[in-house]
Symmetry: C2
Subunit: 444 residues, 2 copies
Amino acid sequence: MTILIHNATLLPCTPDMPVLGNGWIQVDGATITATGSGPAPDLPDAEIIDVGGDVVMPGMVNPHCHMAMTLFRGLGEDVDDRLFRYILPLERKFVTPEMVRAGTALAALEMIEGGVTTVADMYYFERQVGQVVAEAGMRGVVGQTIADFDPPDHRTIDEGFALTDALVSEFSGHPRVTPSIAPHAPYSTGMSVMHRVARWADDHPGIPAQIHLAEMDSEMEWCASNHGLRPVELVERTGLLRKGLICAHCLQVNDREIEMMARAGVGVAHNARSNGKAGRGIAPVEAMRKAGIPVGIATDGAMSGNTLDLFSQFAPVSMFQKLLGRSRKPMPAKEVIRMATMEGARVLGMDEHIGSLEAGKQADLIRIDLSAPRMQPIYDHYSTLVFATMPGDVRDVMVAGQWLMRGREVVTLERRKVLRDALQVAAQFKAEMTRIDETGDGAP
Amino acid sequence: MTILIHNATLLPCTPDMPVLGNGWIQVDGATITATGSGPAPDLPDAEIIDVGGDVVMPGMVNPHCHMAMTLFRGLGEDVDDRLFRYILPLERKFVTPEMVRAGTALAALEMIEGGVTTVADMYYFERQVGQVVAEAGMRGVVGQTIADFDPPDHRTIDEGFALTDALVSEFSGHPRVTPSIAPHAPYSTGMSVMHRVARWADDHPGIPAQIHLAEMDSEMEWCASNHGLRPVELVERTGLLRKGLICAHCLQVNDREIEMMARAGVGVAHNARSNGKAGRGIAPVEAMRKAGIPVGIATDGAMSGNTLDLFSQFAPVSMFQKLLGRSRKPMPAKEVIRMATMEGARVLGMDEHIGSLEAGKQADLIRIDLSAPRMQPIYDHYSTLVFATMPGDVRDVMVAGQWLMRGREVVTLERRKVLRDALQVAAQFKAEMTRIDETGDGAP
């Protein structure tokens, strides 16, 4: 089956980041077979789609998320001790395979509606995450969390590794879902577990690892007082700082550590809204990119950043670097879009297959309508996309040649059921929060 | 004519900021005559509107804008010297009453679509701004700019005052449009003009004044080297720092100046995205509010902040204060909504008439649909509105009892004509930018 999309404002996100008027793109099966601008090829047997001048660009890549945490969106927003008062008790009591399925489906629905086609997730019961991502038609790196704080799906580190092995077995060879191992963070795994993850990774070439890194003051203190090291140094000692490691946050990294990370070949997932909302600081994104580290734009979980589309992140990503540099110049709009597409793909080690619209790559693409008054006039499409476009402007979404959304209707998920299931869990959360508030007791 | 809106999630934005389930609001003519929650009154002759649980809250107040600059939206976004290379030459050549009309209409369309019902504008040919605001059905404070840099509509300061006097005559007594005087900034008017504005203000009680204040390093330097003062001190010396002065930006204000501003009774328009995008810094909003200064949330012109809805500002407003405070606690979501409504009304001296939904106030209100997956579930409506709602979620907009938008259709402006007029001006801008790039010559 051949599809020809034409009359597009084509942003292929190839290295020069061109904007091609009268653009077209040919898709055969899951693959892009040709692109161009000017007269489209004559393909009598193809399905021909005239997008009326709309932008067509690669589907966006969200390299750090906890999808199921949509169910915690905005919960205890202004409560200072919300983590210990509500969130950890709720997770211990309610995080089950069914809850993970419900929250992940809501996340997939939101991400598809917002133009995100690839996500890297790390949470619990990650098998369910992989299943939902597969059913939703998205592309995903699904990471089984391993942590020592008695998380909902494993009581011991051995159990965590067993879950990871099962995940790898289940999704090995899947065309869109890549299993991954996710040691939670230096302070919540400890050095010995990270050593073990590094050895596991030696035995599983091509399986990406994910970790929260250099995010919090308390993490800096833990690393210093327990090991006399900073987080990046500590991870490096364990052998885990290596190509394929996806490092989320990286707020507290100095020049020497940036150099170390670049040499090791890690990728960074930058979570501007999550970091800003927690008041934690601004990641040195310009410095990391200058050193050659690929940096993608991520949402974190909806509990931290509230929304899972990348448009909501773009202005903060750009403004934060401009504020750091006290200038209008840092992080121009074009670079923001590069990070959201091609560079995010590099972070996930998928840049040979996705991230740009080029012959031979997977047909992961989105169509965006820029006609709203809020976006007019347009002098620079990248400026428009970064500072004025919103998730609701995305019209169509395709992954691997399959439509996930057409005309704002997601076709791979049952919208009503997804929302109903999510609200059922939320009702349980609300009842438990009332109980906690009345009894002052966060324990189940 | 009586309208009864019921079955609302009512956010009246009264001091306690309640969220009222099963809320209702009665509107007679331009005025709110009753509100409540629970069973709605029986009004047999009223138009009854069931909003199906949607949020109904006050229309939002944008206390600093240059509406006509929508035509410059994203122009030269990544060009470091864009002000002198493009913008000032384009303004000198193209800013006419017709251009101001076109740009202001586009701004009004966007603001109504995004739930902004009241705007304070400062630009040139402000008579046209007032006319468009009146025709669009919005509420506005329209400020004639007075500046010494040879702006498009006056060659001398005397001419600037004459334009202001004419503006006051034209809109004196208008139910929705308030004329205003707008000395551009300390460095672009000089002390003598500010003295004169202060005397003019003495003669025109109740006419608000607007000024850009303490925004830029170059402004700090100008004030220091010419007068040995800081901007706030300089304005205070002229007698202009007084109740009714709307101060935009206020990035560089110290504790003593904040105290001075609070005592004088000024209001502040905080432009988070504009300031962030320019890399200029973060206004000490928490400190100003703690001192008792009302602070509203503003967009600045679309050239600076790109969009004119307040939703785009909310996350930056909150995150910037949290980053300043290195904590999740500052600027909770509820306070952000308070600033966008009641506090913005105070900044404009309109708090007796708008800013909250209470009997006796003007019926300026908006209806918002929070059903999109991106906003679900809802634990706290303020969190949802600040961190997940977007302008496209606004369904209906009413000002002074008149519908400006119903079901996303703006009824007071001709959408197609507004867009066509704006694109015609943009085409002229593009041609001139090409000429400038080819000749290297910014002069007309």
